[in-house]
């Protein structure tokens, strides 16, 4: 079984050299810590920066330099700043090759719900609806089940949707799954996790091939 850092590490393996990547808040943010050796990617933050670097050293924080999570950041050589219209032009125009974001629910046809729980204070979708409607390569990073132990991989989402039919890949604490043709397709097991455990934790249609390798981190 993976922890949050393990999920992030596995997702980082999906990155390819030269890609532009947008990471959501939460587990996705951790992906930046696990870029494979020999690979160079540029991180886009939708509030208007390309080429985000690590957090600043203490005392060097600049209030005019933050990411979409409102955290103070730095920039890498080759960075650029731009306005929000340009930022979402990059996203909507599919110039960002990979988007990683968290989810509350994903359905077997790739619908995603991650912005609203009826009856609770709603904070808003931010850029998530633009990201999921636009990106060709959306990876969801999340726990396989919620705090009550219920599956977050469902036949249909019960929560209000963020986007329809857009999720291509899911990495959870238990497994890596592709989403296509109306089903989750099991690709890899997390270390020490059995296929049976994954099947039991998955409420939506799950296609299990004969051989399901354990992921390598």
């Amino acid at each position: 079984m993976l922890d949050k850092n393990g999920i992030a590490q596995r997702i980082a393996q999906e990155m390819q050299d030269g890609w532009y990547v947008n990471l959501g808040i939460g587990i996705p943010t951790l992906v930046a810590n696990y870029i494979p050796q020999g690979i160079s990617v540029e991180f886009q933050s939708e509030n208007g920066v390309l080429g985000m670097g690590p957090f600043p050293f203490e005392g060097e924080e600049d209030p005019d330099l933050i990411n979409a999570g409102k955290q103070t950041i730095t920039t890498m050589p080759g960075a650029s700043f731009f306005d929000s219209a340009m930022s979402f032009a990059m996203i909507r125009g599919q110039h960002v090759q990979m988007t990683v974001l968290g989810a509350m629910e994903v359905s077997e046809n790739g619908d995603i719900a991650n912005w609203k729980i009826p009856g609770r204070m709603v904070k808003g979708m931010g850029g998530a609806m633009d990201l999921v409607a636009s990106a060709e390569n959306i990876i969801v990073a999340m726990m396989h089940t919620n705090k009550k132990g219920e599956s977050k991989l469902l036949p249909n989402c019960s929560l209000p949707l963020t986007g329809v039919g857009c999720v291509r890949k899911i990495v959870t604490n238990l497994a890596v799954m592709d989403v296509r043709e109306g089903s989750f397709h099991l690709v890899e097991r997390a270390p020490g996790v059995t296929v049976q455990e994954i099947v039991e934790a998955t409420a939506g249609a799950l296609v299990v091939p004969e051989d399901v390798p354990e992921m390598r981190l």
Partner: protein, 234 residues
């Protein structure tokens, strides 16, 4: 040339009236028009519809206008970190319309660019798309979104000149340029105001044609919401 330079924030917001629709630049507390927000508060106008990506925090930014209940409706992509906001929303005192961030930005740009409507994939199949025209392009469904209509836009820049040209710093640019384009009256507050001719014409982010009033703000707090740092190597 007509003088766009006004003395202070109070003069800059003159003409704002109850029930107007107004835009505020900024992302979180980054790049917000600190002086104008206070001046709008002090003007006493009520019933405002505010278009702003976020709604400030309890004791800063647009939180000031929420505390005084001058806002009737917020149009934003993300609100939160604001207890008074939550209270007013849940009690029904405050109307809230949530819009995808890219759509929010593009609807501002469209307003400034004379594009009354455009198609975007964002929000299709969700609550956001309900009641909106759907059309597929290359097999992909999109929804029709419309330009905003705002009487005032309050933006914050780093440098500005007397012709109204603006330059932004870092990620404090965010929504400010599009809102500057969109406002019928655009008020820009800047950290440094210089005479026309001192800024490089090739480095202007917002051409002065979009700015009707400009002034040098003061007492900028520039609060940081999430102060994240890394340790120095020992």
């Amino acid at each position: 040339m007509i003088n766009k330079v006004v003395a202070d924030a109070r003069e800059a917001v003159s003409g704002i009236k109850d029930d107007m629709t107004v835009m505020f630049g900024g992302f979180g507390l980054c790049g917000i028009a600190e002086n104008c927000i206070l001046a709008v508060r002090d003007s006493g106008v009520t019933g405002l519809t505010c278009i702003s990506n976020n709604a400030g925090v309890d004791d800063f930014g647009l939180g000031f206008l929420l505390a005084t209940r001058q806002v009737k409706k917020m149009i934003s992509s993300y609100v939160g970190e604001n207890d008074e906001f939550e209270r007013q929303m849940l009690s029904g005192e405050l109307d809230v319309e949530l819009i995808p961030q890219g759509t929010l930005a593009e609807r501002c740009r469209a307003a400034g660019a004379g594009i009354p409507a455009f198609f975007t994939p964002a929000g299709y199949g969700t609550e956001v798309g309900e009641g909106k025209e759907v059309r597929s392009f290359d097999g992909k469904p999109h929804i029709l979104e419309h330009a905003f209509d705002a009487q005032f836009a309050f933006v914050k820049a780093w440098k500005g000149d007397e012709a109204g040209n603006l330059i932004f710093k870092g990620t404090a640019r965010n929504f400010n340029p599009m809102m500057a384009m969109a406002g019928k009256i655009t008020v820009a507050e800047v950290e440094e105001l210089v005479p026309a001719g001192e800024l490089d014409p090739a480095q202007i982010h917002t051409p002065g044609i979009f700015v009707q009033r400009i002034f040098q703000g003061k007492n900028y707090e520039k609060r940081i919401e999430q102060r994240t740092t890394r340790p120095r190597n020992p």
